[in-house]
Subunit: 138 residues, 4 copies
Amino acid sequence: MSSLIRFGVSLDKSLLEAFDALIRSKGYSNRSEALRDLIREELVRREWMEGKVVAGTITFVYDHHTRELTGKITSLQHDAGDIVISTQHVHLDHHNCLEVIVVKGAPKEVEKLASRIKATRGVKHCLLSMTTTGKHLT
Amino acid sequence: MSSLIRFGVSLDKSLLEAFDALIRSKGYSNRSEALRDLIREELVRREWMEGKVVAGTITFVYDHHTRELTGKITSLQHDAGDIVISTQHVHLDHHNCLEVIVVKGAPKEVEKLASRIKATRGVKHCLLSMTTTGKHLT
Amino acid sequence: MSSLIRFGVSLDKSLLEAFDALIRSKGYSNRSEALRDLIREELVRREWMEGKVVAGTITFVYDHHTRELTGKITSLQHDAGDIVISTQHVHLDHHNCLEVIVVKGAPKEVEKLASRIKATRGVKHCLLSMTTTGKHLT
Amino acid sequence: MSSLIRFGVSLDKSLLEAFDALIRSKGYSNRSEALRDLIREELVRREWMEGKVVAGTITFVYDHHTRELTGKITSLQHDAGDIVISTQHVHLDHHNCLEVIVVKGAPKEVEKLASRIKATRGVKHCLLSMTTTGKHLT
């Protein structure tokens, strides 16, 4: 289905040595994989800017003792319609919960949901991880 | 257990109006909650720099048809010891999976695991969300 | 012309103590100034998203021995029309120059110029600092 | 003095096509230059983490009518010792000035100066651009 293409890259010797040292320290076993990662990161950034269908995770930490908080968060997810795929819940300690929502949809919709959760009283921290459906990314 | 303190902030009228408009558009119902969020974000950034115990999520997308990939990822998680709390797996389509690992531990350890997963062949995109255990964050 | 408004913010005691310690370490002499900075950073981010007139600096490092490089960079600036206000040039060593261009205009135009300079052969590194004209920011 | 090395990179056809479209839109004339830029950005990030000598610019916008502000900023620069190379000043309008300081030195020292300027009353916005002396970057 997919076909591998090989092309040449020219680089200064000292730049290549510095790059090799860097990627070794990061755990890469070869240059091609490291370069593919750099390329894919650029492409994912572009996907989020151009409004295609993206995937992501919304991670947030909250005190579940806050009055009406869990109900509000559930409502927000339902209002967001079909962009929510699944959630994962971790009890960090007696007070604190960490929840991750996996989402897929238009960037604007995903960002709006993350923003709404973040603005909810009792949510201490909320982050959106912008990743990809992988569909156009081999 | 915790006690609320109220203090005064002085702001230029036009700056306050712009801020009010901004936070309304983000879904905040009052200024205090918006300011608390800005403050907590600064504190979480500091937690990650200073090497305390942090929480986070590692989100990655991969093609599960890649040979030996799932085995490698499982090994990496086991090697990381007790920083992995739980994982969540979503089938994006026939080829692509999105996985989220919830982690808790020293920033360096968490960053190392994320880096190892990212460098694995077949992993298309990998992101680390740097959040908090919430313990020192009311 | 501008009038100061004072309003109350309520915060948990332990959150306030952590914030006070943080801003002291950053050199702030009072909370209001630290909070104003957090607010203004949010507003500047919004200015860049919404396409108003912004100010910024494009910083780049290059080897001035690269053939035709200085001519190309000058051309790019002239093509960018009236968004370029002034430039500053520093000789880092025998080979390397650092140049800063101060720009003012629509975000898209500014980003395009930064992108063009970065893509020029011989430019080793190029960054865009997104700041403000200060006009709507008291 | 420097010697060019050529090596092969293997990439999926569809990934390569997406990359070619992306870099064309950014103004690159060939793949090698685009890949060199991605590599150099990674290396500069590493330089800032590892405490080598780096170069950078501190960009800030302020109202020059603020009492004693210009004096304070000058003092901060003198206290920072020999990391300040040069400055550039632009009058944005009757009230607002944009100033850029070119710095070279240890990352910690540079970050400290940027933090001090940002915390100064009357400074509306302050950003640090983390670039390189170019010395180890061909």
